[in-house]
Symmetry: C2
Subunit: 454 residues, 2 copies
Amino acid sequence: MKVSKFGGTSVASAAQIEKVANIIKADPSRRIVVVSAPGKRFDNDVKVTDLLIRLANASLAGEPVDRALDDVLARYRDIALDLGLDDGITSIIADDLARRLAASKENPSLYFDQLKASGEDNSAKLIAAYLTSIGLPAEYINPQDGGLVVNNPPARVQALAESYANLSQLRNRQAICVFPGFFGFTETGMLRTFDRGGSDITGSILAAAVGAELYENFTDVDCVFAANPKAVDNPAEIEKMTYREMRELSYAGFAVLHDEALMPAFKASVPVCIKNTNNPFSKGTMIVAERDFSERPVTGISADSGFSTLYVSKYLMNREIGFGRKLLQILEDEQVSYEHIPSGIDNLSVIVRSYQLTPGKEQRIVDRIKNELHADDVSFSGGFSMVVLVGEGMKYSTGLAARATQAIARTGANIEMINQGSSEVSLVFGVLQKDETKILQELYSEFFTPVFAG
Amino acid sequence: MKVSKFGGTSVASAAQIEKVANIIKADPSRRIVVVSAPGKRFDNDVKVTDLLIRLANASLAGEPVDRALDDVLARYRDIALDLGLDDGITSIIADDLARRLAASKENPSLYFDQLKASGEDNSAKLIAAYLTSIGLPAEYINPQDGGLVVNNPPARVQALAESYANLSQLRNRQAICVFPGFFGFTETGMLRTFDRGGSDITGSILAAAVGAELYENFTDVDCVFAANPKAVDNPAEIEKMTYREMRELSYAGFAVLHDEALMPAFKASVPVCIKNTNNPFSKGTMIVAERDFSERPVTGISADSGFSTLYVSKYLMNREIGFGRKLLQILEDEQVSYEHIPSGIDNLSVIVRSYQLTPGKEQRIVDRIKNELHADDVSFSGGFSMVVLVGEGMKYSTGLAARATQAIARTGANIEMINQGSSEVSLVFGVLQKDETKILQELYSEFFTPVFAG
């Protein structure tokens, strides 16, 4: 049994949904289908989710909603018509939206979420109807009926353990299950949406729950590339990588699959495949627990900007038991999470994502470190990028750091920070933001350009 | 005004003390002299401090002390005779030791310390007498009279702030002050000894207190070398380095000046000079706040073995605010201090000195990290060395990491860990212990061997 998730562009139009149907038809083990809300059909198009956000905002503001509602309905109506479905499904969706619009506005955030989640929900209803109409018996599964139970606010939304037992029952359904992505319900029936990449999470949870042989994640790219195609010409395709590699790459700029979405599949050892709805015969990229890494030590190179460093020095710092712990406590008190802590003997740098900082926060952190930890020097500086080499094979490749640092030296850029731990799945370089692209390009050509003897 | 400290080998015999006197005579600004207890005169000799430890142990055990006491007295008597001093000073020392031996044994640790500290104390009395006898008026200063006040137990012994004001009065003495190293007194008059390198600390405190133009630390080597002479043939001499460089070098295997001893001089901006009693015209090594570092990016390379790593991995670790802080708290609860925390995305390694660990401690730490932090993998492994490149100029030297990693690659050794923070005074490599020496040698030849064009 496979769980197949289709993203927004895969269900954006009738033509796309026909591709989805063909994909499902082509492999009878595709028994559970998770769908997003209809996405963009062309560059300047507006996603259904964004139309729903407009609708919810208008409704909450007490403004007329007819126009915004029509925009949403029109998308579903067009798709249904083009797919040759009768008015029934459009009526169901119209009734559903009317019911949601009439819901209590007592909790505006909840009101907003339940409208937004209708994008996926009605997408699932429509696609179930279409599959059935072409002789692929399918049923829409409401996440509340299916048992996708999430925790209560205000904690960040997460599926509760009981969800897995509940959802494992989907194995026994005769029809193909079409499950909306992006949301679940608390035990008392409150709808909660997942964070970014939410439909990917739903698919991953379902794949884990039913013990799928494969979790297919259909999107609009053929595969995961070894480097960002915007920075590197024709980067190599990654055929297979491990969860750890995907996760380390997603840290800095690889946005194909939201990293948190991998977790349930990872824990249940379900392999994941990134595939292209528009080119389903392409092999895609497999994400697995273990792989043979004899060929190439580096699997991918990612880069991301927007990092700051907090530099702290204090004479004889490393004699003070508790110094680092107290420093991290101060950051935690300001709700700042950190990425790395490279350290000398009497100094350390804490690398953080700059978006978490404000001038006030920086000042409070600096003041507390000076006053409470009696540090000699404390300062923030911004404008850094992290460039990350990722590969399970790096551990077994002597001289890899030498090749990487030589490549960076060839660009004339300075290395501000190097971090390599004993796992050695990744080697992280902190560099100035302005040097990021040229370093990425040089590293790519060092590790991915074929070398010809001669 | 200079403060000149003479180590154990510099005051081990009459011939050595004559050299000390010549050094003092040669420069009238040498007004404050700090001395150690007489050290070894030849390889198999026993230091006075070790003789005193035997004496104290015998006395505490209730055994006869005559033999051990004679051994101590003989050392001073021989020196006094050879220096042409009369019996007076030997009697003073004999009376002093008799008084110490008769002291209360109620607190055995205190009893032990006051006997051990007599080594420096009587050395100072003897040297003051000798200097006076050759026409260099000198007076012995008792640390209690001088005002070297230390904190109360059980905290690690440290000079209190008031010591600096007290000791600054030594500027006004007419005679040369001869001050014993190694110990001070609490406000209630309890003697406490400094940790390892204790006489160096006393000298550093005095230099800071009187605002000396220079703190000279006389020992038995000409200078600090750029690498351990036991590992590298004829290593380069370091003429000048910064406090930070000395400190980073002392982290791993550079034992010329105890790092903690630098602190008072560093805080008071007193430059420090490491010199050789046996070759006083050699320039020595200057330790200063700032230096011109245009010549050579790397000042020294140190290496030390005996490190372990604690490896911890947990999927989505870096999403968890507080993970690192809680991990460090667990180490702190077990009184384990750490050196570095290189990290990937979902894993980190904590580098610690292995001597702090026991199998029981390791097990407790691993169990707590698994149970309380729900980590996926937790393990200790030992047998690592840290090799550290140190130099203020490294920050301005593009390609330095490339040269270093290439040199290591040439040895065929793998790099287990790399740590370079934004201070960039040091670049730390974790390697297997068995590879330490060959890596040190290769790095030395990379950064210190002159390159000839051609």
